[in-house]
């Protein structure tokens, strides 16, 4: 008898079910043993206690939709949107089910049939088609945001209470946004920055889109840290957004277009590593091989690209010369400066880079690294999740801040811009210790590296 290991032969009347059948990897659906080991790892399951809000439940629904046992309805779509995409279920899974791929395939299918309301359409089109793929528009946005922030307009807007007209989640976010800038890392440092001392390897910085507008300083600090650790740093100018937000929202075509541009750009350079300083970007970059696997022309180059992607902390710890980080003793006797850390889910679960940041923090003089309880649990930022799912994101953040406050740390460090903003928001809303400062780990280390030079 022939092996029947393909997809089920179901004729679906429902168009979404048909697309799900076409897009979903049925082998992965079959691989789920339903053992339940993913449940305690899942933030939305912990918050709700409801099986449908767990990876096992979501996979069961995907499979049921494909098998024709359920018709994928609005509730199905909502449940798929409720997933943070934090991927914490993947390391917990004995059977190595690629849940991240399944949720992306599901969202892509949903997106194909989605009829968004007009405002949502406008926002999505602006964000996915115009803003993120085009550096010019982002810089323009950075410039106008910067103007808005610096010109007194922001003060004026805030004082008139215009912000109250925005959804709460957006207005709260606006309050913690850093100073934007139209000058990115290339404008400040050029496209090459040499290693200090004997070069260990040639690396290229992935500068990101949001990173280079909202956190351009972090990009500059990343380059200087890499140089101090012994790396020649290239910053290719024609690189674009990584496509992560597109991929997580089901806009796969756009994601692949951006990936192709990035692969072409970096492939021209003779480099050993492609360095990311944002877990969210890094996790997609490291999976470009999977993203492009259907594209024969890009299959090999995508593998070349993905195999070189590494997070800045991991590269410095594993291949670099770790610089000296000075920190004056805390004013109170024998009270060391306390530092804690919120994992970037994508850095931890996809790039497997949870240990290096901790190694670096422990290197800083006169500093005590305090492990926060459930540091490995998503903070609720998750790309644009905190904007589209404010309620769930809010309750996740509230629990997160309980643990953060218990550490009594002066600094809350992160490895991803989304997490950083979320932690700033958390400190703003829930911190009993407003002296706690949220920072990108690179900025924190850079500050102390400069002090020691």
């Amino acid at each position: 008898m022939d092996k029947t290991t393909g997809k089920p032969a179901v004729q679906h009347k429902n168009p979404l079910a048909r697309t799900l059948l076409e897009k979903l990897d049925y082998d992965q659906l079959t691989n789920c043993m339903r053992c339940g080991f993913c449940l305690p790892a899942c933030p939305t399951f912990s918050e709700t206690g409801m099986e449908p809000a767990s990876p096992r439940g979501r996979i069961a629904m995907m499979k049921a939709a494909v098998d024709g046992i359920m018709v994928p309805d609005q509730q199905f779509e909502d449940q798929m949107s409720l997933c943070l995409g934090c991927r914490a279920c993947e390391p917990a899974c004995p059977a190595d089910v690629k849940y991240g791929q399944l949720i992306e395939q599901t969202r892509e299918a949903i997106e194909e049939h989605a009829s968004h309301s007009l405002p949502v359409k406008v926002v999505r089109r602006t964000v996915f088609k115009h803003l993120f793929p085009k550096r010019g528009s982002l810089k323009l946005l950075g410039g106008s945001l910067s103007l808005y922030q610096k010109s007194g307009l922001r003060r004026a807007v805030r004082s008139t209470g215009m912000m109250k007209l925005l959804p709460r989640s957006l207005s709260e976010m606006e309050a913690v946004l850093p100073e934007a800038s139209s000058k990115g890392v290339v404008e400040r440092l050029g496209t090459f920055y040499p290693a200090q001392g004997e070069p260990i390897a040639k690396v290229a910085l992935f500068r990101g889109c949001i990173m280079d507008v909202m956190f351009a300083n972090t990009n500059v600090n990343t380059v200087e840290l890499l140089s101090a650790a012994g790396f020649d740093v290239y910053i290719p100018e024609s690189q674009v957004c990584c496509g992560a937000l597109h991929a997580h929202s089901g806009e796969m075509k756009d994601a692949r277009k951006l990936a192709a541009t990035n692969i072409d750009t970096f492939k021209q350079l003779e480099i050993d590593y492609i360095v990311s300083n944002a877990g969210g970007c890094g996790a997609l970059l490291v999976e470009y091989d999977h993203l492009m696997q259907e594209d024969a022309a890009y299959r090999d180059p995508a593998q070349w690209f993905a195999s070189r992607v590494v997070d800045v902390s991991t590269l410095v710890v594993e291949k670099g010369r770790i610089p000296t980080f000075a920190q004056p003793e805390a004013p109170l006797q024998d009270s060391k400066l306390k530092v804690t850390y919120q994992d970037s889910c994508h850095l931890r679960n996809v790039m497997k880079g949870a240990s290096a940041p901790r190694v670096l923090m422990k290197q800083v003089a006169n500093t005590e690294f305090v492990e926060m309880a459930e540091a490995d649990r998503c903070c609720g930022s998750a790309g644009i999740y905190n904007i589209v799912q404010p309620e769930m994101a809010g309750s996740i953040l509230e629990h997160k801040m309980e643990h953060a406050n218990n550490t009594q740390a002066g600094f809350m460090l992160t490895s991803n811009p989304g997490c950083l903003l979320q932690m700033k928001l958390g400190i703003e809303q829930h911190s009993c210790n407003h002296d706690m400062q949220a920072m990108h780990i690179v900025d924190f280390l850079h500050e102390r590296m400069v002090k020691s030079q």
Binding site: M1, K3, T4, T5, G6, D27, T30, N31, M33, R34, C35, G36, F37, L39, P40, G49, M50, E51, P52, S54, G57, A60, M61, K63, A64, D67, I69, M70, V71, D73, Q75, F76, Q79, P94, A95, D96
Partner: protein, 471 residues
């Protein structure tokens, strides 16, 4: 389908949020950890107290609605799959540790408490709750009690049944039954506590449990021994016990498992070994040292090829990696993993493993065996693909023969997973006609309408698995 009156009454009882009949809820409660088994319930209910459970059972009785209780749905015998539809009762909201009594060394818990969390909680108080099923990070105490879960520490410390002192349970008609207490001795009538432990949700709904705790062992030491001859490993197990040493854990991995584990974890296991034993002893430091020294001596006498003793916790963790990876490594081989638990007297493990290997060859299927050598509770694990019906059929035939072999060797069809629906066709082989008759009498006394987890434990006939959907 549930009738409208029943739906209204159930909603009134627990509130809008906690009784669901939507598609999503039904799909998400149509399975457990058992491969190739799926059946949709008609509703899902989340009670928050014994009183609510009692109310729900009264409604279910008056409308003759089947009720299946569920913790985390991690069991492997189909015990929580609602074969006759009806209501799945999820115990997650009843998840509080109500009391830890340091005078009596007991804990009072609700059924929805995650076992691993209970264990950490009591260990934080310097106490010990030994039953440690491999699913303890996810499984609930209620589920452990319903299935009488075992674990790695069964040989020395016993299983769940040895730690349940008393229960509050709701019968099918809604009446509340309280058994046992914070008592070591209690012979007032039949031992209903023990009867309910392992009753798989077919007799009553457990809503509260009094558990026995013991002092936490002071130290622990870990070692491994590897054998080219499986009989050497088996004789080692027997000799250890003969010399009156009862190790805290005594685990075995057979040759197919060793190969798969090393492939997966790259820990440099020698691939020419027939078996690896993982041995731990805990207790007073001097006793532990003495026992581990004696065990090493026995391993040498039985011609172990390699013996390693961990010098600290970190090394111990490394030695335990092989055993901890076994399930994961096997699960990654093929899409479908069927983990069974045929159990034999300790003296028969070598024979059982060899017979399992021979049966796997005969049917041309992949079966690797690992498990708890110290108590004879083995896990022959088949890796297959649910979509290959012909191969799945051969796997089922092979398992039938494995159960037969276990019984022949004086063992049983299930050591810790339960009968559920998967083992129902084989139950009579183990307990005989008289056993079935007595058990059915007990079932009838507790649940005359047969609404509590119907179609479990007792097979309608000796037949293959009831597969509704190859889910």
């Amino acid at each position: 389908m549930l009738n409208e009156t029943a739906v209204r009454q159930l909603r009134e009882c627990v509130g809008e949020t906690y009784f669901r009949t939507d598609q999503e809820a039904l799909i998400a409660h149509s399975y457990d950890g058992t491969p190739m088994l799926q059946a949709l319930p008609d509703g899902v209910i989340y009670p928050k107290s014994t009183e609510q459970v009692s109310e729900i059972m009264k409604i279910a009785s008056s409308h003759r609605i089947p009720v299946v209780t569920r913790g985390s749905g991690s069991n492997l015998c189909g015990g929580t799959v609602p074969l006759q539809g009806g209501i799945v009762m999820v115990m997650h909201r009843m998840n509080r540790i109500l009391e830890v009594d340091l005078d009596n060394l007991t804990a009072v818990v609700q059924p929805g408490v995650i076992t691993g969390q209970l264990i950490s909680h009591v260990e934080g108080l310097g106490l010990f709750y030994p039953p440690d099923p491999s699913s303890m990070k996810i499984s609930t105490i209620g589920g452990n009690i319903a299935e009488c879960s075992g674990g790695l520490r069964g040989l020395k410390y016993g299983t769940t049944k040895d730690y349940v002192l008393g229960l509050t349970a709701v019968r099918a008609d809604g009446s509340i039954l309280v058994t046992g207490g914070k008592l070591t001795k209690d012979v007032a009538g039949y031992d209903l506590t023990k009867l309910l432990v392992g009753s798989e949700g077919t007799l009553a709904v457990i809503t509260e449990a009094i558990l026995k705790l013991i002092p936490y062992p002071k130290t622990k030491k870990t070692m491994v021994a590897m054998y080219k001859d499986i009989y050497g490993a088996a004789r080692t197990v027997s000799s250890i016990i003969q010399q009156q040493i009862i190790p805290a854990t005594l685990e075995i991995l057979d040759h197919p498992t060793i190969r798969v584990v090393d492939d997966f974890a790259n820990i440099g296991l020698p691939l020419d070994m027939a078996a690896i034993l993982i041995i731990e002893q805990d207790g007073e430091p001097e006793v532990v040292e003495r026992d581990i020294a004696k065990i090493q001596q026995i391993c040498r006498e039985e011609l172990a090829d390699r013996i390693e003793v961990a010098q600290d916790r970190q090394e111990a963790e490394q030695l335990l990696t092989a055993r901890r990876s076994a399930f994961t490594a096997l699960a990654r081989l093929r899409p479908t993993t069927i983990l069974e638990d045929a159990t034999v007297p300790r003296s028969k493990i070598a024979e059982m493993i060899l017979r399992t290997n021979a049966i796997a060859q005969k049917y041309n299927v992949n079966i690797a065996t690992f498990g708890h050598a110290g108590d004879g509770n083995l896990h022959p694990t088949a890796t297959t693909d649910a979509r290959d019906l012909e191969e799945v059929h051969r796997v089922e035939e092979a398992f039938a023969e494995i159960f037969e072999a276990a019984i022949e060797l004086g063992g049983t069809i299930t050591g810790e997973h339960g009968v559920g629906v998967v083992k129902a066709p084989y139950l009579e082989w183990k307990v005989g006609e008289a056993g079935i008759e007595v058990m059915q009498g007990i079932k009838h006394a507790f649940d005359p309408l047969n609404i509590l987890n119907p179609d479990k434990i007792f097979a309608k006939e000796r037949k293959k698995r009831v597969v509704i959907q190859r889910g």
